[in-house]
Amino acid sequence: MVSYVIKRIAESIPTIIIGITLTFLVIHLSPGDPGSRFMDPSQPSEYREILQNRFGLNDALHIQYIKWLKQVLFHFDFGNSFYNGKPASGMVFSALRPTMLLAICSLIFALIVGIFLGIIAAVYRDALPDRILTAKMMFFFSTPSFWLGIMLLGIFSIKLGWFPASHLTSLYHDQLNWSGRFADYVHHLILPVITLGLPLSATFYRYIRTGMIEALESEYILASRARGLSVSKLLFHYSLKNSLIPLISVLGITIPALLSGALVVEVIFSLPGLGRTMVSAVFSRDYPIILAASTLAFVTVIVGNLLADVIYSMVDPRIRIKTQGVL
């Protein structure tokens, strides 16, 4: 297993390098000048030169690239933001935390909702509950999360005032005790998590429903019934475990989608995350931040995929044998 993980990591390094190289090229070859947004008519005209030098944009492209790559690989230094001079790596990592919080909570939410409803639909297959759920989930599956977010924000936050409309914590968060802080987080995260989680839960729902129906019709479930196992054991242990397996393989594909979704949700709910950092960096041509954020996004996706594969092989014994056999 360890050697498998190492092999996978080694395989993914070129992917990351290709990815960030492409990103580097795209942003450096694009028209426009990141320094220009800092200028106004009262500044001396040499200021443009000063900024270009400060940002190291006067070198030839390949020199800039090599310099940058060296810095990243040997010092883990992504440079400093053009906008506020902060180290890009620090900024991006601190932005990753809220995104991870959002993504993981949404994933858990989506899994709980998707699995729970998927089981119900499979148990009442083709009956009324199944038909209602399937139609509902088709709706969420087709709903762009930004619209869902705006609707939730408009109704529950602005109109009804039940939930805060922005941020991860209240202003007085630090004044609260731990239970208060937890409640504060929950209060702030509910709408964003629903926004990101519901469309995702629709995907999970489809897989679980399919998997559960397949499992429930299988011979081993019939055999287990014949052995007198309780219904809850049959559903939650014997069938669910089997229908979770395809879900885990989907998880790997879900991670990029989750990051893309978080981008929109963070913009709508003003959350301080990687997505919002990326959006504002793109709009302000903050090259170091764009590069650091996309690198981090690629790495997150690859680590996530790896994790999904490891979990997959742990849950599905048949796969593990295969990978052991390969190595």
């Binding site: 426009g32 008519p41 443009r48 139609a135 709706f139 924000l153 602005i158 301080p272």
Partner: protein
């Protein structure tokens, strides 16, 4: 089944949206002025749309950064509302030398930096050195061009020596916040943009920097050792980042945010209506702002200009770069286009009445402003059409678009993407010009591309943007031939008459003569129309009514924050939470 479900869902959404939320009963205090003693305490939450880029006065550019800096740092003196006289701040007083070439400042001696170190004359000298260091690139550097040297006579006396006499000497001397030498002396000017100080500023102002949560909040707290004893009264000022406008507005209404600057006029009008009906605790405040928007015409042919630039021959006279633009090279065409614009309707539509149509170059906020000096182009599409046909533009092929020599009058109006007001204005202009047969395609462009490439290289037809103005008037970067190749001189306007007027205005020392030059410049530019000025904006802000003693005028929202206070009875939930 499915369709029934959707139907119910849509009905539910519509229902929730269309019913009005519970009417809030006014809790607004009836007595605006309370004669009892001022008490300290209270928290002000300021909603901001973007995180400040830096809290270092040398690097700050955005309004948000400048606001926060104005609370943490102090100048030598602050300008008064008349924009002529000054009130001493860090200086105790000042005297002009008999030859009017130097100013001697006597400094306050009881001022401490937030870290407890004493403030002294050395800080003033150091600040001047930093401000004029080209490697740092302070944006106010032009203020200091008239200064020859700054010297400390002793710990509490500083002398500013000038090259020549000018009416703006005092303004030039006191411009800029004073920085702590004991902290920044160790930072090289190349590394200034990365300094820790930019994120944890130390100043002499009424509020101390306390903490910065990325993309969320910046907290300032009361400076207990502020030199004006007993001030400030507020415990804490929190700047809360809320990028989304609707979010910000709803937080203002719900009391999560107390103060918001630069509200959208539409939101401002709604708030004002509620306020006037006595249904709201949010006091709307509007004052003359610092921004105006305009259309910039490209007077020269972009392709010709580009070709000439490629020759890289520095000895070419400017005239060689100028080939009149096929549309806007003619002053008459520009005046026709200006007359085809219903500026009144445009201004009211995008600003909801919170702006004033503008006809000439001088910003309304400046003392130099004189409306009578401008040439007025009334809204008159018929006249516009007549002028255009005199210029050879008429709809010969009957396709609804004017043409001349087979070229249809079609151009792109570029504007910055993400700025709703400009997007709306461009769309309205497109509609208005279409009525006289001029086809405009609005195009939204990224700021970096707009200011970094299209404008500096004059690669555009027409642009709709706006400027933020300072308290002095200087049009040289925009229209003077000496800045012809610099990024902000994008119209390609070239007029020797303007050049001589501008030069003359700078040499003069007599306010009345200077005003005469300004009026002439205004008359000339509003006649030549390198820009078509659209409107001058009024700033729309709002602050919760519980804050007393708040002074707001054209200098901005944060003129006297050290005097603001909150009566105990009116403290909000957040005030109380912070008090424990």
């Amino acid at each position: 089944m499915k369709s029934l479900f959707y139907f119910c869902l849509i009905c539910a959404i519509l229902l929730i949206y269309s019913c009005d939320g519970g009417k809030k009963v006014s809790r607004r205090s009836t007595s605006e002025f309370n004669p009892i003693k001022i008490v300290n305490g209270g928290t002000l939450v300021v909603g901001i749309r973007a995180e400040p880029e830096s809290l270092n006065p040398l690097l700050a550019l955005s309004q948000t950064s400048r606001n926060i800096i104005s609370l943490v740092f102090r100048r030598l003196a602050d300008i008064n509302e008349d924009l002529r006289t000054f009130t001493p701040v860090l200086a105790k007083n000042w005297t002009f030398s008999p030859d009017s070439l130097s100013i001697t400042f006597n400094l306050k001696t009881d001022v401490l930096w937030h870290d407890g170190m004493p403030f002294s004359a050395a800080d003033i000298v150091f600040t001047y050195q930093m401000q004029t260091d080209p490697a740092i690139g302070w944006d106010g550097i032009s203020f200091k061009e008239t200064i020859r040297s700054v010297d400390a006579l002793d710990d509490s006396t500083v002398v500013f020596l000038f090259h020549r006499k000018s009416p703006a000497m005092l303004m030039d001397a006191v411009e800029g916040y004073i920085l702590p030498e004991h902290i920044l002396a160790s930072v090289s000017s190349e590394d200034m943009h990365k300094a820790e100080f930019n994120r944890r500023p130390v100043g002499t102002g009424p509020f101390k920097f306390q903490g910065w949560k990325d993309q969320q909040t910046i907290t300032l707290v009361r400076n207990n050792s502020y030199y004006e004893t007993g001030k400030p009264h507020l415990d804490r000022i929190i700047f809360k980042v809320v990028p989304d406008n609707i979010n910000l507005l709803s937080q203002l209404k719900s009391g999560e945010v107390d103060l918001v600057e630069s509200l959208y006029p539409r939101d401002f009008q709604a708030l004002s209506a509620k306020w006037e009906q006595g249904q709201s605790n949010i006091r709307p405040v509007s004052y003359l702002g610092r921004r105006y928007d305009f259309i910039g015409w490209n007077l020269i042919d972009p392709d010709h200009y580009r070709q000439k630039l490629k020759q890289e021959d520095n000895s070419l006279p400017i005239e060689d770069y100028i080939l009149p633009n096929r549309f806007f090279g003619s002053r008459k065409v520009r005046s026709a286009l200006t007359m085809a614009l219903d500026r009144e309707a445009l201004t009211n539509a995008v600003n909801y009445g919170m702006a004033i149509p503008m006809h000439g170059p001088v910003p309304l906020i400046l003392n130099a402003y004189n409306e009578a000096a401008n040439v007025h182009w009334p809204y008159d599409p018929q006249q516009a059409l007549r002028i255009l046909s005199e210029e050879g533009w008429s709809d010969t092929d009957k396709d609804g678009i004017l043409d001349k020599d087979g070229i249809p009058f079609e151009f792109e109006l570029i504007t910055e993407s993400g700025n709703t007001r400009w997007e709306q204005a461009a769309t309205i202009i497109q509609d208005q010009l279409a009525k006289i047969g001029v086809h405009v395609s609005p195009r939204l462009v990224e700021p970096a591309l707009l200011y970094g490439k299209l404008l500096p290289l004059k690669e555009f037809d027409a642009v709709l943007i706006g400027w933020v103005v300072g308290l002095t008037m200087d049009y040289a970067p925009l229209f003077h031939s000496s800045s012809f190749f610099t990024p902000f001189h994008f119209t390609g306007y070239y007029s020797s008459k303007y050049d001589s007027l501008d030069d003359a205005s700078k040499k003069s020392f007599n306010p009345a003569v200077i005003q005469k030059y300004y009026d002439e410049i205004a008359g000339l530019l509003s006649h030549d129309l390198p820009y078509t000025w659209l409107y001058y904006r009024q700033e729309c802000s709002a602050i919760h009514v519980r804050f007393k003693n708040v002074t707001i005028d054209k200098r901005g929202m944060f003129i006297n924050p050290e005097d603001w206070w909150v009566p105990v009875k009116e403290r909000s939930r957040i005030d109380k939470l912070f008090e424990g």
